[in-house]
């Protein structure tokens, strides 16, 4: 049994960090995990994505063609990954950055205005946490508590003052789609 999650967006939207949090939370829960970024020239300003796998046995391929879940932080990511989500899987779309909703009916899809929600929390950089909360509300692979614990355990000291806002963003993202 394994769950594959792709988080995709522009550089600067925090997609790699959101993936790292999933990996940390999975590791802390005693699961087998991999986190792998796209590391091509696109890292310099263009699109960024990472694939996280959470499993119960040695993970073979760290990359999958058809993931079980996708967070699309913008329109190009929605265009690219909506067709690839495995039937029955989950797609979470940042509606602030995509002018359409998901069209597939054989997957669970949710859309939420994560940019505006983050801004109303006073920090646009919380967009990734809002989207992660929304995904986990529909994908029962890890609890929100486990993500919060991973953040508390692995965030560098200098960023710890941001923990309460990050927790709030996770919860609001989950509430928006529940």
């Amino acid at each position: 049994m394994q769950t594959e999650i792709i988080i995709a967006g522009f550089g600067g939207q925090g997609v790699l960090f959101a993936g790292e949090l999933l990996a940390y939370a999975g590791m802390d829960a005693g699961r087998v995990v991999t986190w792998i970024p796209s590391y091509g020239p696109e890292m310099r300003g263009g699109t960024a994505n990472c694939t996280v796998i959470i499993a119960d046995e040695e993970i073979g391929s760290p990359l999958v063609r058809n993931p079980q879940a996708v967070i699309a932080m913008n329109l190009p990511s929605l265009e690219k990954y909506e067709p690839l989500v495995r039937p029955g899987g989950v797609l979470a779309v940042n509606a602030s950055m995509a002018n359409r909703t998901a069209v597939r009916t054989d997957i669970t899809s949710v859309g939420l205005p994560a940019n505006e929600m983050a801004e109303s929390l006073g920090n646009r950089r919380l967009t990734n946490m809002i989207m992660l909360g929304a995904l986990l509300a529909r994908l029962p692979v890890l609890s929100l508590e486990s993500i919060e614990q991973a953040m508390a355990a692995h965030l560098p000291e200098r960023h710890r003052k941001l923990l309460p806002d990050n927790y709030k963003a996770l919860r609001q993202g989950a509430a928006a789609v529940s």
Partner: protein, 371 residues
């Protein structure tokens, strides 16, 4: 030590440091630059040697010189950079020095790209530099293996006074996985009986790869070959998955090997009796294990991220007894598990003997590639 979430490149660098690396010489090149970056920060803070050389030529010859003193030394690079190092590596082999080199292979030939590749298998395993020498070549597929094999690389290099290459690709370099690092060890300054440490109060020692009189060059070559026989006896390493009752044996190393594992599991779920042999040492190669499998399996499928370089080693071991098929992606392309699953299904359906499986493979590849 606790398990941490570690990035492959950084984990290899830190592992080398913890087991007493005394000097690192390198030149930046993607996708291995994190190794050099890590060294540039950690080595000076530990009072050890870090030099960013003017080029890979400079780096390999600095490694050569430092290794002559008996110090634990290494370098790292990626394909084009390693090509530049080949002259120096042959000199190091000819001088019988323990040296570790990490090669994070990338798409080629030429300047190529920075995507993951296994296109340098032949260069690293079957030579590259001139003359008769055999490096030990280790190929990790996971971060934990990258850590463990980096540690072993130094022990093997020093045990046999031999070159040890750790070869991986950008996937292994960039992936993060939970892994356990070795405990921090004191640098133990080894002073082997051959090391050049200053001859005051003792007989002069001499290290060189020059033997003007071929008689003595042949004596040296004989010693290298005898050492290689011993390495072949002792240092074969591989991992087996689902091979007990396997009828179809998939063989792949490094990243291609772990991708094949996903495909083999999926094939098993469909009732195909597939198994995986993943060589962990590419040199010496697990010929004997493959020979044994050829006695009971009915087909082999070799999967690589190149045009079938290791394929020829598998063919040598199987020696025509059963069909050996091939699937590869080239130039920095990484296969998805479903591609390999399709190949497993095809071979399970019709395990035909082909003189060169690459002819049909190139035809099948036409359907995948853009026109």
């Amino acid at each position: 030590m606790p398990r941490e979430l570690l990035k492959g490149n950084e984990a290899m660098a830190e592992a080398a440091i913890r087991v007493g690396l005394e000097a690192y010489f390198g030149y930046p090149i993607t996708p291995q630059t994190e190794i050099l970056e890590w060294m540039s920060r950690r080595m000076p803070e530990l009072g050890r040697v870090f030099v960013q050389a003017e080029s890979e030529l400079g780096a390999v010859n600095m490694v050569y010189g430092a290794a002559c003193t008996g110090a634990r030394v290494m370098s790292s690079s990626s394909s084009p950079g390693v090509s530049l190092m080949m002259e120096g590596l042959s000199y190091i082999a000819g001088t019988e020095l323990p040296v570790v080199l990490i090669d994070i292979m990338r798409g080629g030939p030429g300047l190529g790209n920075i995507a993951p590749s296994q296109g340098d298998y032949n260069q690293m395993v079957h030579g590259g530099g001139h003359g008769d020498y055999h490096p030990i070549v280790l190929a990790p597929a996971t971060v934990q293996e990258a850590v463990d094999l980096t540690v072993e690389a130094f022990d093997l290099a020093e045990k046999y006074r031999n070159l040890v290459f750790v070869v991986a690709d950008g996937n292994v370099g960039q992936i993060m996985e939970p892994a356990e690092l070795p405990a921090m060890r004191e640098v133990k300054r080894a002073t082997p009986e051959w090391a050049l440490t200053g001859a005051e109060g003792r007989e002069r020692r001499f290290l060189s790869s020059i033997y003007i009189d071929p008689v003595y060059e042949e004596v040296t070559n004989k010693r290298l070959q005898e050492r290689w026989l011993e390495i072949q006896q002792n240092e074969v390493r591989y991992r087996e998955y689902y091979l007990e009752d396997a009828d179809l044996v998939v063989i792949g190393f490094g990243t291609a090997g772990r991708i094949a594992l996903t495909a083999v599991r999926a094939a098993r779920a469909e009732g195909i009796r597939a198994g995986l042999l993943r060589p962990v040492a590419l040199s010496p190669y697990p010929y004997a294990a493959i020979d044994e499998l050829a006695k009971r399996a009915s087909a082999f499928l070799v999967v690589e991220m190149n045009a079938g370089q290791m394929l020829e080693d598998v063919q040598r071991a199987v020696a025509g007894r059963v069909p050996v098929d091939f699937y590869g992606r080239m130039g920095g392309m990484v296969p998805f598990p479903d591609e390999i699953l399709d190949e497993i299904r095809r071979v399970a359906r019709e395990p035909r003997a082909q003189a060169d499986p690459r002819v049909a493979w190139l035809k099948r590849l036409e359907k995948v590639l853009p026109h």
